[in-house]
């Protein structure tokens, strides 16, 4: 009671209603309820749309079962196709995340503490540019590069490393590099911001005390940059695991991504319920991942989402 009285006293009626209305709309109608409805839907039987909400549209675990055991008619004991796609998606996402950390940390450190003059500022500005380019186009650029007549094959063949073009697409090389590329900027900015806030004197002091360069990083810089690294890892993992454009464009015919399975369930199989169940599985995995990261690295959500 006290709160609302205070609230309207502070904001007045018109503004108070605007604030309340907008936030309620956003939180309830756009964030919370849709997720709950999707959760509910994922436990419903798959019936055609006209029957939704009728008795035929009852509750079931079949979609989650399907993810693990496959259809009842199947001879396999487990749904190896979907499970392996899921497993590969998660493992690849983790792998891509690690690659990005390894690539970004040295660059971020270089920009923040080694480069001098106007260069770092310019480079940071330049980093923003690819960040703004559409995800689809970034994937497309990789498709061009890695194509069998793409510049990479041409180059490798010309200098004699390969004697014939290598099918990067079919071997998922294009996909992995495209994914690493796609969200790399969400890794470098948090790390850069964190590393930059480190006092240069601390590095100097460590060097003065005779620390070798790797120990300076291990004991001084990396601990300081931890929140940035965590934040970058979380973002990159989530976006990679949830990516759709890059796998659709760069993925070979045999390497499906989990989001593509969801997409197929919706757009080709017309099985919205299963699609929802799979989306829930993806969401749950992401939440678990974030919680684990928060627990392991002892950071708060506020530090991750910036």
């Amino acid at each position: 009671m006290g709160f609302w009285q205070d609230f309207f006293r502070k904001n007045g009626k018109a503004l108070g209603l605007f604030l309340l209305g907008s936030v309620a709309c956003w939180m309830l109608l756009m964030i919370i309820l849709p997720q709950l409805f999707m959760l509910d839907f994922s436990f419903r039987t798959n019936v055609p749309p006209p029957l939704w909400g009728t008795e035929a549209h009852g509750y079931t675990f079949e979609h989650y079962r399907y993810m693990i055991y496959g259809s009842a008619q199947s001879t396999e004991s487990y749904n190896f196709v979907d499970l392996s796609v899921f497993g590969r998606t998660i493992l690849t996402a983790i792998f891509v995340t690690l690659i990005d950390v390894a690539l970004c940390y040295p660059v971020a450190y270089y920009l923040a503490h080694v480069a001098t003059g106007g260069w770092p500022r310019l480079m940071v500005m330049a980093l923003i540019v690819p960040f703004w380019v559409n995800e689809l186009l970034r994937a497309f650029a990789f498709k061009i590069m890695f194509g069998s007549t793409g510049i990479i094959n041409n180059f490798l063949v010309a200098i004699g490393i390969l004697d014939q073009p290598f099918d990067f697409i079919r071997n998922s090389v294009a996909l992995y590099s495209g994914l690493s590329y796609a969200y790399i900027l969400l890794m470098i900015f948090p790390i850069y911001n964190a590393v930059e806030s480190l006092d240069k004197n601390q590095i100097e002091a460590a060097r003065d005390l005779g620390s070798p360069w790797w120990r300076i990083h291990w004991r001084v810089v990396i601990p300081h940059a931890k929140p940035g690294i965590t934040s970058g890892c979380t973002m990159v993992f989530m976006l990679t695991a949830g990516a759709l454009a890059a796998p659709q464009i760069l993925g070979g015919p045999s390497s499906l991504w989990f989001t593509q399975i969801i997409y197929q369930a919706f757009n080709q199989a017309g099985n919205w319920a299963r699609g929802s169940a799979y989306a829930i599985i993806l969401l749950a995995t992401c939440i678990i991942f974030v919680l684990c990261v928060m627990k392991i690295f002892k950071v708060k959500l506020g530090e991750i989402a910036r």
Binding site: P49, V107, P130, V133, K143, G147, G302
Partner: protein
């Protein structure tokens, strides 16, 4: 000392490679848009051309998708900016205990996969529509409505973050001062808070529009039967690639860069204004010209100039001499083809001499491709081709290789592979 030097040069090299990795693909993609080759590539450079851009303007579906994207983007701006603002203002007012929960919920859409957001939006409004007994033509099933809602869900969180960081520098006492001087709450909002937030509103709006404009993951689910630029693009890329996509990419890249520069300019203007006022507050003299510099940020002007200059040159260079170049390339191709055919005819005595030069070759090649013999090492020495074609043509060519050395050299310059397709399409164009 020396190890220090080595380490230094190594790290510079690493950074250079990193930047090459970042920009290389985009630059290559952009270049392919200007190559007249019908497959997007750089290395067998044919003619400098802007025809792929002209090609774009004729694509009715593209124009439609673009219009839809702009419409949706504006819708998202209208929704996400006020909601983000309300969210940020509310954050300062909710009770201490509730605040972490509130923050977590409002920020969560950024972390939730876009696919999931799209699906949940689609499902939720479908169910709401069913509950109200709305027809399939109603707003609940409308792709635009769903897409705007779905995108605004997470874009509002972006704009909220923009407003939060701006509000942190706002002295809330100013609002009390205004109220105390007799202003109503609405007047206080309009005359005190809004002017302060103006730069943040501008940058949030640009951010929201860009984020909406390039969103794919959510849109692909919520758009239903309509199409936006990104879904159009995705469909096009998946169905087969040609340089018109590169051309489109160049246009989008240029537009987004302009947008990003605008966003950056707003941000820097805001920061500069703040620094200036802090400086003045410290009692230093106000520097003349500082004010006017904000309005015409040098970076923005530079970027604009470079783009216009680049586009202008590209256009003129593209129109001048394109036709000659093309005819040349075409003639070259024909010559090569005919040479090949001649050699084959001599060798195999297979061809009917009365036929036209091109047609038999095409048929022959198709047949050979179906036969698909093994590949040879020799072929790899020359500029690579599409795999299938290579497989198809290799056998004969290997046999007469020494005699064709001149041709091959020539080919490595122009390398008109994809013969049937290319020559065929050239002919089509000429016959038009």
């Amino acid at each position: 000392m020396t190890s220090d030097h080595i380490r230094k040069s190594f790290s510079i090299l690493f950074v250079l490679i990193f930047f090459a990795y970042l920009f290389g693909p985009l630059i290559i993609m952009s270049l392919t848009a200007f190559n007249s080759s019908s497959f997007p590539r750089v290395t067998p450079w044919e003619c400098f051309s802007v025809e792929w851009f002209e090609f774009l303007t004729k694509d009715q579906k593209l124009i439609e998708g673009l219009q839809n994207s702009v419409f949706i983007g504006l819708g998202v701006v209208c929704l996400a900016v006020p909601m983000g603002l309300a969210g940020a203002l509310m954050l300062t007012q909710v009770r201490e205990r509730v605040r972490p929960w509130y923050y977590t919920i409002t920020i969560s859409p950024i972390l939730v996969p876009g696919v999931v957001l799209g699906i949940s939006t689609l499902l939720f409004w479908d169910r709401v529509g069913t509950m109200f007994g709305a027809s399939r033509e109603s707003v609940f099933y409308n792709g635009f409505f769903l897409t705007i809602i779905g995108q605004a869900t997470f874009i509002s969180a972006y704009t909220m973050l923009v407003f939060i960081s701006r509000l942190q520098r706002f002295d809330r006492v100013q609002e009390e001062a205004a109220l105390d001087l007799g202003a109503t709450h609405v007047q206080t909002f309009r005359k005190i808070l809004l002017p302060f937030l103006k730069p943040a509103i501008a940058s949030a709006a640009v951010l929201a529009f860009l984020a909406s404009f390039e969103n794919y993951n959510t849109t692909v689910f919520t758009i239903v039967s309509e199409s936006t630029l990104t879904t159009f693009l995705a469909a096009k890329v998946r169905h087969g690639i040609n340089p018109s996509i590169s051309a489109l990419a160049v246009v989008i890249v240029v537009l987004t860069l302009l947008g990003a520069a605008l966003h950056e300019a707003f941000k820097r203007r805001e920061l500069a204004a703040e620094k200036e006022s802090a400086r003045v507050a410290k009692g230093e003299q106000k520097s003349r010209g500082a004010q006017s510099r904000f309005l015409f940020d040098p970076t923005v002007i530079m970027i604009l100039l470079i783009f216009t200059a680049g586009l202008g040159t590209a256009y003129f260079a593209g129109t001048i001499g394109l036709d000659e170049c093309k005819t040349e390339v075409l003639a070259e191709k024909r010559r090569i083809v005919q040479e090949r055919i001649k050699k084959r005819q001599q060798k195999t005595m297979f061809q009917d001499a009365g036929r036209q030069a091109l047609t038999p070759l095409t048929q022959e090649e198709i047949k050979k491709r179906q036969a698909a013999p093994g590949t040879s090492n020799f072929q790899g020495l020359f500029s690579p081709e599409n795999l299938e074609e290579q497989v198809g043509t290799s056998k004969e060519e290997t046999q007469d290789a020494p005699g064709r050395a001149g041709t091959e050299n020539f080919q490595s310059i122009f390398a008109p592979r994809n013969l049937e397709e290319q020559v065929g399409s050239e002919e089509q164009k000429q016959s038009e």
